[in-house]
Amino acid sequence: MVETGHFALVLAFVLSLVQTLVPLIGARTGNQRLMAVGGPVTVTGFALTALSFAALAGAYASSDFSVASVWENSHSLQPLIYKITGTWGNHEGSMLLWVLILTFFGALVAAFGSNLPATLRANVLAVQGAIGATFFLFILATSNPFTRLNPAPIEGRDLNPILQDLGLAIHPPFLYLGYVGFSICFSFSVAALIEGRIDASWARWVRPWTLVAWMFLTGGIAMGSYWAYYELGWGGFWFWDPVENASFMPWLAGTALLHSAIVMEKRSALKIWTLLLAILTFSLSLLGTFLVRSGVLTSVHAFATDPTRGVFILCILTLFIGGSLALFALRAPRLTAGGLFHPISREGALVLNNLFLTTATATVLVGTLYPLAVEALSGGKISVGAPFFNLTFGPLMLPLLVVVPFGPLLAWKRGDVFAVAQRLMAAFAAALLAMLVTGLFIDGASVFAALGVGLAFWLVCGALTDLAVKSGFGNVAPSIMLRRFAGLPRSVFGTALAHLGLGLTVLGIVGTLCFGTEKILSMHAGESVELSGHTLRFEGLYPAQGPNYSEDRGRFSLIGADGGIAAEITSAKRFFPVRQMTTTESGIETLGFSQLYLSLGDEGTDGSVVVRLWWKPLVTLIWGGAFVMMAGAAMSLLDRRLRVGAPSRRRKPAATMPSAGVP
């Protein structure tokens, strides 16, 4: 079975070469048969990659230590779920997952792309095949997951204990679905550049792919952030760690792409910019893969420290980013520019959004790469941390968040900002009220905290206003309003939900940063501590044995208002003997949207234990907001507008000339 997977991988590599060359030549020469090869080859390539991945997962699940990567990253005593997730918890397996998702997206284009012009479809599949071919080659040449060991060891070396966690186990697939999803947008852009024309269906096709990729990336980042929050035991939700930035940059650029693609689809404007943005977004995804996989940055995620891998990925990076940008420089002048618009209009607001988002992406990029550049140029070692990002990213985001509610309410082409402001009066009043209540009635609230809460309410109420205005609130009878509300296009709901989710995330961040409290103290069993009105009693340390670790559990009781025990919270120190590593399991109790968070420190000589406690108000909204954003993206995807039919044979162009609206 293992060797079948290995053979399938090789076969998939060869098919990806065919997928690159044959449709490309077909599109150049206008040969239908050659172009038609693209579809079946792509689908077969995906099936073979899936077979290969299944074989590897099978080897992991059955602890087949004759496979080198299984031996290095698995242990027979691990629970089955971590054996399986261990498949991608290492360099080789995660690269295989990467190409699996790449071929999956390619296969989706092949399967559902019948309504695309044939040459565009062929070129898209060819570019997708080229990306696949380089990564297959990378895997086979430098990181083959099917390398065998003979004789097979009887026991493996265990998965890094930090990675033995469900949150971490499922977030890489989501992140990859996001990262790699943008490859479709990239392929569409490069295909348009190769052809030298942008079809009208281009934007309609690129937008759903952007939505899908963006949705998964949002989920992946949110899960990664929650994992870091509870697993690392530091109570922080975002560290501006280079690896986090590597996933955040494509997200920011992807968000910009999402918005500029709307303009392109509706107004045929910003064509060239959207094309460039699609290329940049996937380039940032590739850069993220390079940064994480090359060992240039050190972190939990950096599995690979083999320099040949780094050089190989750098070559891939140069080929695709350099190549696509060169093609862009060559061909972009041939593309026709689109419609015109007034600066104050829906388009104008979306351009403003793009300006802020791309600039913010650039600052994150600078902050992430600056230490590498300094080290390469002068050998000095510096680190750029949260203070830098707070100073640059913050000021860029604040004005953007303030104008968000205006965007969806402005009209296309030429908008009336005063009319929109009038419609937003209620939202503004709500935000002002929230600000005043926060500032006056909550102890210890700073001006910043009050402004932050106000901003969050402004976003949430702004999103609701959008829905209310579009369903004619106040202008029509309630029954008609309800009917109109139900009949609103899904994309309108999508926009409102995404913006509402953004507001919730902001509220969570402000709540946690401005009203959170923490205590560090050493406690003996039986002692109690109070934190922000919650009383916790430390019951003591108890040893326990897990499947592949032993642990000391610290039990805490949350004392309710009546003096009884309202909840039990457990935090543990786990020791994994195979890797000789200790991890901390934090104890979390969710109360409403807020959380009590505690983690164990070292044991003192007198039997006391250092305990760190946090009260994190509204912290769950940070990730809850992200899920609302995902729901928004899913809602937009359901919009019928994104389903464009293929031209049917019967309708001849002359017959379809619309009589209406010709000036």
Binding site: E3, S62, S201
Partner: protein
């Protein structure tokens, strides 16, 4: 065999994916402008829906309608130009098609023959463990015991059985874990504590560390006559350089041991070694009389020399990794001096001094110690 059948089927499938579309008739696909038109029609329909629902103002809708219509008109004029029709397949196209069809089997089998190991079957662990115990290797039997303990981690007896096996297999850190678990779930006994101490000492490369020492002391507390614990505690004394005390302890052991105890041999050997070491320390410049050392031990001369060399080399290696160990350096200098390797001893002295700095307390201590062995910093 099965593998080759599957591989052949997969290759055939992949080749067909290339071949079938090439063989099929070109469908004479629609031109790009057909597709563009379809999109514009859809946009118009959507506009009408929005206008009917009152989402956009009538004036705006009119303007948008005009704009879409302009796009359609532009499309009509451009559409005439690219209606060139499909050409006949040229020789070049045929060449590409043939190359693609041939590439799939040839390239894939070529690359796989370089990378794969087709005759090497999968070896799922469960299958390996399910074999007849008589055919299993010791490793596999241990793995089976481990699987049992994974399912019942609190089986103290199981850990008790496994721990000495680990020790014999030289899986020392596993032995430490197993003894700790045996103590935790099966209770504290002298044998387990002594075993734990032995395992810890072996993890440390034979050196009785503080952890090992406390385990042995615990064992003696439970059973004052435990020979293993007494033996290793005396060893600890010897390793600290307190040879007379160690000798006294071992001699006391000899009197207390029952006559049939297997420990007699080990203790006598240790005593002989200790004796030689103190003799050697007395007349260091000449080095020990190798023949005398060997005569006192039951080992063959080569084995013994090899064992000593390995131990010293191990200590040397440990100090390279962990240089800030005063005791260790003194032990290394003495070992080399005792073995008659004056050059290595001097080198060790220099390295030790370099670690702590020439004018540190430790450096002075080293120099004085070396001098007591008859060794000077320079030749």
């Amino acid at each position: 065999m099965l593998f080759w059948v599957i591989a052949a089927i997969l290759t055939l499938g992949a080749s067909l994916a290339v071949l079938l579309p090439l063989a099929g008739g070109g469908k004479g696909a629609s031109t790009s402008s057909d597709h563009d038109l379809e999109v514009y029609r859809d946009q118009l329909a959507e506009l009408e829906r929005d206008a009917a629902r009152g989402l956009i103002q009538p004036a705006e809708a009119e303007e948008a309608r005009a704009e879409i219509a302009r796009r359609i008109l532009r499309l009509g004029s451009a559409g005439q130009a690219d209606a060139s029709g499909t050409r006949q397949p040229s020789t070049m196209v045929r060449l590409v098609a043939t190359a693609a069809v041939l590439a799939v089997p040839l390239l894939s089998w070529g690359v796989y023959s370089q990378l794969g190991s087709p005759d090497f079957p999968s070896q799922p662990l469960a299958e390996r463990l399910a074999k007849n115990p008589a055919d299993s290797s010791v490793d596999e039997l241990v793995a089976r015991a481990e699987a049992h303990l994974a399912a019942n981690p609190s089986d103290g007896r199981g850990w008790d059985v496994l721990a000495p096996i680990y020790l014999r297999l030289q899986r020392y850190s596993d032995a430490v874990t197993a003894y700790r678990n045996a103590i935790r779930f099966g209770g504290d006994t002298a044998a387990r504590e002594a075993g734990l101490g032995e395992a810890i000492a072996n993890v440390a490369g034979g050196i009785v560390t503080a952890d090992a020492q406390s385990a042995f002391e615990q064992a003696l507390k439970l059973d004052p006559a435990n020979p293993k614990a007494s033996f290793y505690l005396a060893m600890a004394l010897a390793q600290e350089g307190r040879l007379p005390e160690a000798t006294a302890a071992w001699q006391k052991m000899l009197t207390l041991l029952p006559p049939d105890s297997p420990w007699h041999g080990a203790v006598e050997q240790a005593l002989a070694e200790a004796g030689n070491r103190s003799v050697a320390a007395g007349k260091p410049t000449k080095g020990p009389d190798a023949a005398a050392v060997d005569a006192a031990s039951s080992m063959s001369p080569q084995d013994r020399q090899a064992m000593i060399d390995t131990m010293v080399a191990g200590l040397d290696q440990k100090l390279r990794e962990n240089p800030r160990d005063t005791e260790g350096w003194m032990r290394l200098i003495r070992s080399y001096a005792v073995l008659g390797k004056a050059k290595e001893a001097r080198d060790a002295l220099h390295r030790g001094i370099a670690v702590f700095g020439a004018d540190s307390e430790e450096a002075k201590k080293f120099t004085a110690f070396a001098a007591s062995l008859g060794l000077t910093a320079t030749e």
